[in-house]
């Protein structure tokens, strides 16, 4: 066997699928012990994401206003004690729209990522494992979509399907299917050459069993990382679609739409309508990015002498 200097404890523990969890826990405790920077990044990510998820579940703790209430305050009111983040052009409280908007964007992003994963992962597994004409065709399609600017595809789909939560979720998810496909296919190709897989085949284990018991668990760690980073990306794509006007219908608080609405009032000196939605998008995406990055560095540290 090759002495791969980048091989980690995690790699060596690949023999048994159940050790997946064990290796992860091991890496975590190692990181925590050494107080590595990556550990702190992970913590930061967990805190931010946790806070925002908490906000989506208990919005009432963060604001007392209804985000659609047009009589909440004056039109275009600057941030004040009554309205910490100000009010928008129809008199709605901006803070409330930030809090409730989190549900919308997070919901769409997570749902879209899940959908992409649910489609991309099985396809990747099958394709990598089968390796014949099916693999070639699927790879061609997925590579084409992957190298193409994702936002443009999302725009085309969103325009076709029209406004609506489900439609936007579908539009966004299309963009990320190739990501999961390629990741999983690559890993599958690697793993299927492993000795233990060959052994399993020799005993006559069915392909589906091999996929489920040996391939899938080893792929999962990377998938989780990619999932987190993917959510960050999906958040940005959803915000972009709403900003262009292809997002959700009016009546659902949405950060992207608030941004594009607020931009009209900027020359009048109204800065709060665009500053806060942008900050929120950034923080949410950053949270998931740090979560993903932190996880990635800990589970698969690149360089040992680091």
């Amino acid at each position: 066997m090759n002495e791969n200097k980048n091989e980690t404890r995690a790699d060596r523990a690949r023999f048994s699928p159940a050790s997946g969890l064990a290796k992860a826990l091991g890496a975590f405790s190692e990181a925590a012990r050494k107080y590595r920077v990556e550990w702190w990044i992970l913590v930061a990510g967990i805190v931010v994401v946790g806070l925002i998820v908490f906000m989506t579940i208990f919005p009432g703790l963060f604001t007392s206003f209804n985000p659609n209430d047009q009589s909440a305050g004056p039109q275009l009111g600057a941030p004040s004690f009554a309205h910490l983040l100000g009010t928008d052009n129809l008199g709605r409280d901006v803070g409330a729209r930030m809090v409730y908007g989190a549900r919308t964007i997070l919901g769409v992003a997570i749902a879209a990522s899940l959908l992409s994963a649910l489609i991309g992962i099985p396809l990747g597994l099958v394709s990598g494992f089968a390796g014949n004409w099916l693999d070639k065709v699927l790879s061609l399609i997925m590579d084409s979509v992957y190298s193409f600017p994702g936002l443009i595809l999302a725009i085309a789909f969103a325009a076709m399907l029209g406004p609506g939560v489900i439609n936007i979720t579908l539009a966004v998810s299309v963009v990320y299917i190739p990501t999961y496909f390629r990741l999983v296919r690559g890993q599958t190709l690697q793993i299927k050459e492993e000795l233990y897989v060959e052994a399993a085949r020799a005993i006559g284990a069915r392909k589906s069993v091999i996929l489920a018991k040996y391939v899938f668990p080893n792929v999962i760690a990377t998938v989780v990382v990619v999932f987190s980073l993917n959510i960050a990306d999906a958040i940005m794509t959803e915000a972009a679609l709403s900003y262009i006007g292809l997002g959700l219908p009016a009546g659902i608080p949405d950060w992207g739409m608030d941004l594009s609405m607020g931009k009209k009032f900027l020359p009048s000196g109204v800065w709060w309508m665009i500053t806060y939605p942008g900050l929120m998008i950034m923080f949410l995406a950053l949270g998931f990015t740090m979560l993903g990055e932190g996880l990635s560095e800990i589970l698969n540290p690149r360089l040992q002498e680091y």
Binding site: N89, L90, G91, A250, M261, K264, S268
Partner: protein, 520 residues
Amino acid sequence: MKRVLVSLLVIASVLAISSCSGKGSGGTLVYGTTDKVTQMDPASAYDQHTWELFNNIDESLLTYTPGTSEIVPGLAESYTVNDKGDEYTFKLRKGLKFTDGTAFTADTVKWTVDRAAALKGDPSWLVTQFVKEVQVVDPLTVKFVLTGPTAFFPSVIAGNPPYYPLSPSVYPVDKIVSNPSELKGGQLVGLGPYKVTSFKRDEEVVLEANPNYYGAKPKYKKIVIRYFADATTMRLALEKGDIDLVYKSLNPSDIKDLASNPKITTNTLPGPFIRFLCFENSQSVFKNKKLRQAVTALLDRPEINQKVYLGQNAPLYSMVPQGMIYASEDFKTAYGDANVAKAEELLKSAGYSAKKPLDFDLWYTPTHYGDTEVNLAEVMKAEFEKTPLIKVTIKSAEWATYKQQFNHKQMGAYLLGWYPDYVDPDDYTAAFAQTDASAGEGIFFSNKEWDAAFVKEEQSADPKVRAEIFAKIQKDWTDEVPCAPIFQGTLHVLTKTSVTGVKIGAPLIFRYDTLEPAKQ
């Protein structure tokens, strides 16, 4: 490294200074707009902005005195009407030539009108509805035989581009033209005060004074129209002095700010531009008149005007706008605003309750009427939901789909707007309630008595008869409510104080040749 930075700074400042010197104005006016040109073909374009261009590069047989509704001779120096009122004979001016040198004759007029009718574009009904046949009597005399006596035909021919003569040597007779580059010779030709010298879609259109024009020469020899993607940047450009004039499409907040800017002149025109809520009267839940009345009762026009438009428009209480002859305010007396009590009474009598509310979709189109539209829908939803007996879902579709949907009866309640085709109350009433026209706007209202009344007023030249008919129609409108008026638009033209001469009247025709630099 430092040297590199310093030299970069030097280059940057040199470029900055040199770009500041810019080009002087010297008889050039820069006009900013967020509208778009559709097709440069009067037989097919049916939008305000493209029509505005045609109003300046061409003219009709009759025209309006700028800034008024007074009809005066245009390319025709006079006309006569027969006794019945269904034949108009025009005597054309002598010796007029298109910008490419082609002579303007009665044949040109017939060719143009026949072409407009044949190509069946959007505005072709303005020809086919009224004109049966065009006859060439002699090279300078042309006779319009109408489908029926039409007292207001002069206002139909005066402001509608399908009637503006085109040169047969340039325009193809069987195709609609989008860009000037498709024409023979690659240039638009016309008979108006200006000609188009450069056309770059969505970027700029350059107009220069037409030396062949029969009338007075414009003071601004060159007009550059700059196309902006959004109103906010256009407002900033005006403030900075990059552009000289802005017409329409500024956001209400920008209009408000600029009104107090000493370097900007704000011209306010009470435009006969109306916005209203349409119902689908034949199949949707709104075929029940009571529900139409209930929803109308809940409208709070002053609130809409304040919240969405910062008070810049005017609440409208009849489909016929204020300033038009025979206009009334019947909706004010019949419903008032935010009449929750009346609405609930009507809803309850129709069988609705808080447990079983009237649940409907309110449709709007996001950019066709400006991007304040979503706010209009949101405010209206809040107004309708003041009573627990109603539940509204806001839906939107962009214009292409919107039009298709209302033609296919797919929207029960939707917002629409209307610029006049000709200045007459008929264009604000029959257009929505006469059986065929109503179907064309997706309203599908039909009432035989009303249809008969419309025919009567269209064919009568007696103001007393017409006043009586319109009074009754407007009153009956509050009962049947095929559509409900919301507000009447105020149009704003904002210019630098150095620009004067903005003259736009009820027909909403904007002629650039009245503009002139202010006298110091």
